[in-house]
Symmetry: C2
Subunit: 200 residues, 2 copies
């Protein structure tokens, strides 16, 4: 298979890239690193990326940001960081990327546990994840050419434990092999419209 | 109690307004009708509305639009209609409205069944509803002064049956007394961070 992994150099992305690279042709993209540079909050940048990749069998996105802050400190504009990047960035990857997939190709987005189990400071991040959890079952009613769309929704992962443990009190870190398996399940399985939740 | 009902003149709003008016002081607001004119997609318009209402015991929002269309016809801009109006409009009602509530006041937002059970043409509407279903459990971790925040998530309601039946094949219309009860439960109960789902 020919795969594109957006965010292939991040904490999770590099493990997922390493896994798929063993037996597939993998192209990575990222804001500052990877084979192709892309800013997913800009749909023109997404279009340029796909013009460089050509036709693909699978697209994985492990990218997109949102602003973390206390609810009383988040401005209206702060919410739009997440809406433009992690939400509409990934929606635009589906909107544009569908035209660059072979029939029966797949798109795997990334969300997270905050959609179902928020923590302090996560009103914006939770919102964006929840939006995608409802977008995905809706889009698979309409998308054509047998294209599948799923999301992997992770809890705090083992490799981010030091960075995020304080923000996720009592959360048990997810082993990285479970993380990789979730992306494998979406790409190599036949599930469609699934939110693959790995919360423990 | 002194209540503000945004969207108090709509199909659902007028039933809810009628119910609460029996024993409470109700102020209605809407884009083109009601005691106060407001455009919830504009946070300045929301601020002006609350300057006119003064302190309240409860805020109910039954307003906010999103664009319905086939996934292949929805533009990126079309998605922002729902993100600015039904999503951020209601988030801004919480952000701004919390300052106009007495301690232990309540805010009730409106979402819908598409978050959990989408239909064709609803990728944008589903997304917005899902975003609010995750925002609400997140915001109640942080909001102060005992303020409660819930959403009422309705299926297709009886009074909209003729207009929407074709878009919701096989959905059973929700009786209007169940609709009114859901808003009563949020305002008059003690539930907090709840998504009150009335799907049948």
């Amino acid at each position: 298979m020919k795969l594109l992994i957006v965010g292939g150099s991040g904490t999770i992305g590099k493990k997922v890239t390493s896994y798929f690279s063993d037996t597939n042709e993998v192209i990575t993209a990222g804001r500052t690193s990877g084979d192709i540079t892309v800013d997913i909050s800009d749909s023109n940048s997404i279009k340029k990326m796909f013009e460089q990749t050509g036709k693909l069998d699978a697209i994985i996105c492990i990218a997109g940001e949102s602003k973390w802050a206390d609810f009383h400190e988040l401005s209206e504009e702060d919410y739009y960081i997440g809406l433009k990047s992690k939400l509409m960035g990934q929606v635009n990857l589906v909107r544009i990327g569908q035209n660059y997939l072979h029939p029966n190709g797949s798109i795997t987005l990334s969300t997270g546990i905050l959609a179902d189990d928020p923590v302090v400071g996560s009103t914006s991040a939770a919102m964006v994840n929840g939006a995608l959890h409802s977008f995905i079952p809706a889009v698979v009613l309409e998308i054509k050419n047998g294209i599948r769309v799923n999301a992997v929704s992770l809890g705090m992962v083992e490799d981010s434990y030091e960075k995020y443990a304080e923000s996720f009190p009592g959360h048990h870190p997810i082993p990285m092999n479970k993380v990789v398996n979730a992306y494998s399940r979406s790409v190599n399985g036949r599930g469609n419209g699934e939110i693959i939740k790995i919360y423990s």
